[in-house]
């Protein structure tokens, strides 16, 4: 029995059966797709039988987590759940055509709403509440830096997170003392924090790769939209804070030059122009710049390409089983296809030149071919959605990461041992 366990015990913590699942098994089933205004910049057309890719994506980045409620603090009624999560992010590359890990970063986090509890107790707060015996992850960021400093298993990388305070630069309470009774909210917020840490680790891995391999393309599993990607840069490493709001346009431009995002669960689609993607004479890829005022802040640094990567499957599998009719969205940062101009972040002033003879057009064509090259082999047929939209190296990488995840029982035991 270690310090952490003793600390939780002093807060009237008692172990619980760790089987309460915290992650949704099929998030795409509950995600809602929105539509908005977007400019159709160009429609690329590719003949699959003569597709020759010159560009190659070297690295694929993904992250996974496993979460369980491992204890209950019997300070109040109902008791407060203590959530533990094992979070792993990794980069993968191919060696002799097989996917192999290039970088793996992982950490354990323990969460409960400490500040809200302290407020609730006021002057009667148990004094142990002040002395957290393990390092913390909070709004000061540097999650990736901390995760890189030790290796799980050698020196256990476990951190405490106060789930009642946000990770924003100026932290705000996210759980009021009066809300401590709302267990569903406590759990939901804990999961949000865990997702943020995972995203921060993924962004951190992209940072490390950009530094080590500046010429190689990196494909991240997920969107590059600001709130889904850039916002986590500060949390990953405070030196990259400029990415969070793209405040340093030059440095941001350099960073984004070789980063792509592949979105399987497309939540935002253009209101018009998407029909080109469903032409079956060849692979047609409509390319958009999002101009929807509500979304512009999120998408101003990139263009979005919608691809039906496996149109053949439509003959066998109903496409309505997927979120966006089997389409994936490839987020391509403007720096990946254009030369630097100071106004590149302002869609009202700058539009990528995608005329056939332009270098941007050719660069984007190369990127799209590189994505199409990854359409085969198919991932497992267990999920129709993934069969349509998942790139195989990402599926394989995710499996490797998941195989490293601790079980719910191990999560509970490790908390007892610490």
């Amino acid at each position: 029995m270690g310090e952490l366990y003793k600390w939780l015990k002093s807060l009237k913590g008692s172990p619980v059966y760790p089987g309460i699942p915290c992650e949704e098994l099929s998030p795409e089933l509950t995600t809602v797709t929105e539509t908005g205004a977007a400019d159709l910049l160009k429609v690329y057309k590719f003949d699959l039988s003569s597709l020759q890719a010159d560009e190659f994506i070297r690295f694929f980045v993904d992250g996974v987590q496993r979460t369980a409620i491992v204890q209950e603090l019997n300070l109040l009624s109902p008791p407060i759940p203590v959530v533990a999560s094992h979070i792993i992010a990794g980069a993968f590359e191919r060696e002799n055509n097989e996917v192999r890990p290039a970088i793996i970063r992982e950490l354990l986090v323990l969460l409960f709403p400490r500040s809200a509890l302290m407020q609730k107790f006021g002057d009667n707060v148990p004094k142990q509440m002040y002395n957290v015996p393990i390092p913390t992850l909070d709004s000061t960021g540097d999650f990736y830096v901390k995760a890189s400093q030790s290796q799980l298993g050698v020196e256990t990388n476990i951190f405490f997170v106060d789930s009642s305070i946000t990770f924003e630069k100026t932290p705000k309470p996210s759980i009021e003392p009066s809300e401590l009774i709302a267990i569903g909210k406590l759990r939901g917020i804990a999961l949000n924090r865990i997702s943020a840490i995972r995203r921060a680790l993924e962004v951190g891995i992209v940072m490390e790769l950009r530094k080590k391999y500046p010429k190689d393309f990196i494909c991240i599993d997920g969107p590059l939209a600001r709130m889904m990607f850039l916002i986590y840069a500060r949390l990953a490493d405070s030196h990259f804070e400029y990415l969070s709001d793209l405040s340093d346009s030059q440095k941001s431009f350099e960073f984004l030059q070789k980063v792509l995002g592949v979105v399987k669960e497309v939540e935002f689609i253009p209101r018009t122009g998407l029909e080109h993607a469903f032409n079956t004479d060849a692979i047609n890829i409509p390319v958009f710049q999002i101009i929807d005022p509500e979304k512009m802040e999120q998408f101003r640094h990139l263009i979005c390409c919608f691809i039906w990567i496996r149109p053949e499957l439509r003959k066998f599998i109903p496409i309505s089983g997927t979120m966006a009719s089997g389409l994936i969205r490839v987020d391509v940062p403007i720096p990946a296809i254009c030369d630097y101009v100071p106004s590149w972040l302002n869609p009202n002033e700058f539009r990528p030149d995608l005329n056939n003879s332009s270098s941007s057009c050719k660069k984007l064509e190369g990127i799209l071919k590189a994505i199409l090259r990854e359409r085969l082999p198919l991932p497992s047929t267990r999920s129709h959605h993934r069969l349509f939209v998942e790139l195989f190296p990402i599926a394989e990488g995710e499996r490797i990461l998941k195989s490293r995840l601790m079980s719910h029982e191990e999560l509970r035991l490790i908390v007892e041992r610490m």
Partner: protein, 567 residues
Amino acid sequence: MIGYVIITHDRPAKPDGFWFTIEKNAENVQIGSYIITEGDGQRIIGVVEDEEYYSVTDATSQYFSEIMASGGPSLPTYPIVIKIAKARIVAREPSLSVPPKSRWPVRFLNAKDAEVLHKNIPDDKRILAGFLTGSSEPVPVYYHANFLLGDQAAHMNIGGKTGLAAKTSYGVFIAQAVLSWAKKHGEPTAVVMFNVKRGDLMTLHKIPKNMKDAEEKIKSWAKKTGQPDKAEIYINLWNSAISTEEIDPFGIEVKYFTYPTDPYIKELDNAKYRYRLYRYGLNDITVHELLAALYSPHEEIPMTQVNHVYAYLETMKQMNRQVSFKEMYTHMHQYASYEPREVRDALSTRQPTPQQIVIRSRFNAPLLDNWHISVAGAIERRLGGFMDRARGAIDSTSPSCSPIKFTDIEPYKINVIQLYGLTDSEKRLVVNAVLREISDGLAVGESQIGAKRIMILIDELNAYAPKTKSPIKEQIIDITARGRDLQLSMIGIQQFASGIDTQVYGNCSTKVIGNSDIAEINSPLYKYLGEFSRIVPLLGKGELIIYHPMYASPMPVIFPVPLHEVM
């Protein structure tokens, strides 16, 4: 280093076996490979009994990927092939019945590790059984002498497909191993082998002069038989067997027993090799042996005939009269010709009729209490047929001839008894007579001047111990049931164990199987093989799976080609 022990909910480690990962550079792990895993002061030796390569994707996905890729660019990514293998635990130190505790590293077994495997067999009881398969260096496997030759347990059964399983070759190898052990430890032991296939065992004395000569001969034999890759393996195994295991193939003498008309006798004449001729008269065999010779193994013998033969020979014995097969035949003819009352009347009357005078002059068989003409007729016909066919090992005119005696069997030698060329009836007669002689010899203590332990090798065991109800197998059943106390052990060889008597098979404490059909292996008799049953049809020549009481699991082994075969 191969990989690590797997302890997961889908493949939990168990006290008798565990799965382990195979890393990329260790792909030479195969069924039959021996591995060792160590941790927390424990060492566990296992043999690979199953192996799986798979990827997490599925067949449908692969199918559609291939269809969709046709004509287009090649696939940029291949699914990761996950390679795992299952080890059955063979030995461990200390002796615990628990699974490996953690994800311990797994590596190939080496000669030093093998000591764990044999820790239950004292040095002076180790008889070489062969070598572990899949090792980079020859790692010996031993039988426990007391569990192979008696008195703790005994008997071995070797099964497998003719021509592929190398059953007889293994029998010869074991004979040499047993005699080398016997010489080393001063245990007067003899091996008796029945030769049933042409000159198979009649050339055991024709071997290379020494190991250097053997190496040359093995190389040219391997080339000639289309298995050049085996030459180096067999040379290594022989070198190890001779130098480390003290097997002495060059110093083991062979003594032959054959019958006068044996076509292979010239092989021995030319070599001026020592041999002894044998022949059997009726007086040299027991009633049981006579019956076993007269009737075929799958035949149910009518009790009336059995009783008649017993009554006749018992009467002869009481009269202290010795008869030949021919005389017995004549007597049976007489019984078949006259009713008992006719004979009694003819012999007792004072005034015989002409017919009774004829009976008096013709009937000289012992007067039994009773007989039935038709029963005597049936025996007469059997005996007639037997004598017509059996002209090799049988002397039908003399009551006694030159049977093989217990004292003829010489210790520290392979004693080969030639059966090839004899009729099936003669073979049964000779085998049963020799078994009885040896059994009686060991039982009455004649062993003080000869062999104390005898190991008998019987090829085509199904002919002597068929599964069907038959009195001819009693001798064999008796040996397998009580032979171990006499230190008389038997190596039975046949294609299909399913065709031999279950008691005989069940009493064999050591079981050996070479390449066999899957249909045979599916018999419940082979349940002991476990997962290994699937690889039996894939075993090559010289590869066998042994199951010996000293080991917790069947073990795949390899043995070198017998040296007389490379000449």
